[in-house]
């Protein structure tokens, strides 16, 4: 592999430092990050998670606050990602101290000192994914460095290792977002098993839809979280979908229960509705992830995905994990929601383990997590 690298001092370097530009465009956020980590040369890739240094991690919703970028907040359309991608990548390179004029397309031949370019290739919205994948491939060709295609869900799992490379294994992760709700057992990087998932709506989707029904706005998760602070979580006893039924989830019926309740009790207040609904969802999530950890003898548990930013879930999860005597991680909110740093972390491991991804591997909107 032809790579620009810096190596350990000494006659026989045993590790190689790899700097990766990662791009994430699977859904609403356009994000780019530069991560750096050492990996072994010549020897086997060990099971231990890599220690990743995040040099930059730029998400469009932050950049968009600056007028210079026109204040565009990407929606579902790929065209919004197209508009945001170059400024976001430029910012990520600049924050990492690697910026070159015009991303290296200015005719001078100068290019940033990155050793690989990675992008989320699925799952997600096909048009949105294509923007990131095509851009990463173009940059990899222009800069003559490997391209690495990354599974978005594996990225969320690696978010745990960004903050806790030493976390206990096997690890059970609850991934909860607007598009996904699943419990994944991680024996080591690259070895995964899906223990449970939703049979209908994702947890974040249920938050969004209840917020929409109550006329609270979008996105529903943060709004319900904030509103719940003023409500009584025990005011209304909403059903806990599939609580006593294994490790799968069902949130559609819980959403409908809120709607039925409001139709019959128009006097119910939004804070009580929000707090009671949130409590029901958190009850199910915490019960199931702890049940999975116990059943599969996990050494540690962690949260991931956008819904992991919910304050009640973070609090109840940490408390339950501590009571069960489990090593646990409640990640920083920046690593819960979609971000390219986690994609870079997964890319680093994939590059070391599998090598570069072929340029013929396209985006795949329904890409599955490779399980063992």
């Amino acid at each position: 592999m032809d790579m620009t690298t810096t190596t350990d001092a000494g006659p026989t370097p045993s590790t190689i430092t790899t700097t990766i530009l990662a791009i994430e465009t699977s859904c609403d956020e356009t994000s780019a990050a530069v991560v750096r980590a050492e990996r072994p040369v010549g020897g086997p890739v060990t099971g231990a998670p890599p220690r990743i240094e995040v040099l930059s991690n730029v998400v469009s919703s932050q950049v968009a606050r600056h007028a210079e970028f026109g204040g565009v907040v990407p929606e579902v359309a790929s065209r919004a990602h197209l508009e945001m991608l170059e400024p976001v990548v430029g910012q990520a390179l600049a924050d990492a101290g690697l910026a070159v004029t015009g991303l290296g397309f200015d005719g001078t031949g100068r290019r940033p000192a990155v050793d690989a370019v990675a992008a989320t290739r699925g799952p997600g919205l096909i048009g949105a994914l294509l923007v990131g994948v095509s851009s990463a491939k173009a940059l990899s060709l222009a800069w003559d460095v490997p391209y690495v295609g990354v599974n978005h869900m594996e990225g969320h799992l690696f978010a745990t290792f960004l903050e806790r490379p030493d976390i206990g294994l096997p690890l059970v992760v609850l991934l909860v977002s607007g598009g996904h709700t699943m419990i994944v057992k991680v024996d080591e990087p690259g070895r995964y098993r899906i223990l449970g998932s939703t049979v209908d709506d994702a947890a974040g989707e249920a938050f969004d839809k209840v917020a929409r029904y109550l006329g609270l706005g979008y996105p529903g998760g943060p709004i319900i979280d904030a509103l719940s602070a003023d409500g009584d979580p025990a005011a209304i006893r909403f059903p806990r979908g599939m609580l006593d039924d294994g490790l799968d989830f069902s949130f559609s019926g819980m959403k409908t229960a809120v709607i039925n309740y409001v139709r019959r009790h128009p006097e119910a207040t939004n804070p009580d509705l929000a707090a009671s609904f949130q409590e029901a969802v958190v009850d199910v999530l915490v019960t199931k992830v702890l049940r999975a950890a116990k059943r599969h003898r996990a050494a540690a548990v962690a949260l991931g995905g956008g819904v992991a930013a919910n304050s009640r879930l973070r609090q109840r999860f940490a408390q339950a994990a501590a009571e069960a005597g489990l090593d646990h991680l409640v990640p920083s909110r920046a690593y819960c929601t979609d971000n390219a740093a986690m994609i870079g972390a997964a890319a680093h491991w994939r590059l070391a383990h599998d090598g570069a991804t072929g340029l013929d591997a396209g985006a795949d909107p329904s890409l599955r997590l490779a399980t063992t």
């Binding site: 929606e75 579902v76 359309a77 048009g127 977002s177 029904y213 329904s366």
Partner: protein, 168 residues
């Protein structure tokens, strides 16, 4: 729109909505489009689950709200769309609708938002909460058959939906 006909039904609960959708499935063929409308919680995904199961989908059919399109392999492939998050029909360019609509059955939740880019020949399925004093799980279902291809199936559909039929 040209000629249309209506079939009306009611179901007692989510299982009933799935069963009714299952009774629609044998009447479907390649290129058919069903547009589902109804408030949140009315049972649009539930209807699609029943339809998919009857078409032979063995995978779990979950809500496509965030991914917008889910595709399932079956005797007739099922494309399940939820276009709630699309505000501008131009944004459907990303979805490559002409190719999606060509093979298999396409079910579109909130399809009225992209009405202009969907074929006029379609079935519409309106799901409504019961206005009266019935059980909260009960739903009113109004199926519209639009265009000659769907009108030709009216009698056979009416026969198979008879267990749930109510006057329109």
């Amino acid at each position: 729109m040209e000629q249309s006909a209506w079939l009306c039904a009611e179901t007692d609960d989510a299982e009933g909505t799935r069963a009714l959708a299952g009774a629609v499935a044998p009447h479907l063929g390649h290129g058919d489009v069903l547009v589902l409308t109804g408030d949140l919680g009315a049972g649009k995904t539930c209807f699609t689950q029943g339809l998919g199961a009857a078409l032979g989908v063995t995978e779990r059919i979950t809500s496509p709200t965030f991914t917008i399109v889910s595709e399932y392999e079956a005797r007739l492939p099922l494309h399940h769309l939820d276009v709630y998050r699309i505000d501008d029909p131009d944004d459907t360019l990303d979805l490559d609708l002409p190719e999606l609509l060509e093979a298999g059955v396409t079910v579109v939740e909130w399809g009225e938002r992209i009405d202009a880019v969907l074929p006029a020949s379609r079935a519409t399925v309106e799901l409504r909460f019961d206005d009266g004093d019935r059980h909260p799980d009960s739903r009113q279902v109004r199926i519209g058959l639009h265009g000659p291809s769907w009108l030709a199936r009216q009698a056979a559909l009416a026969r198979d939906l008879e267990p749930w039929a109510v006057p329109c």
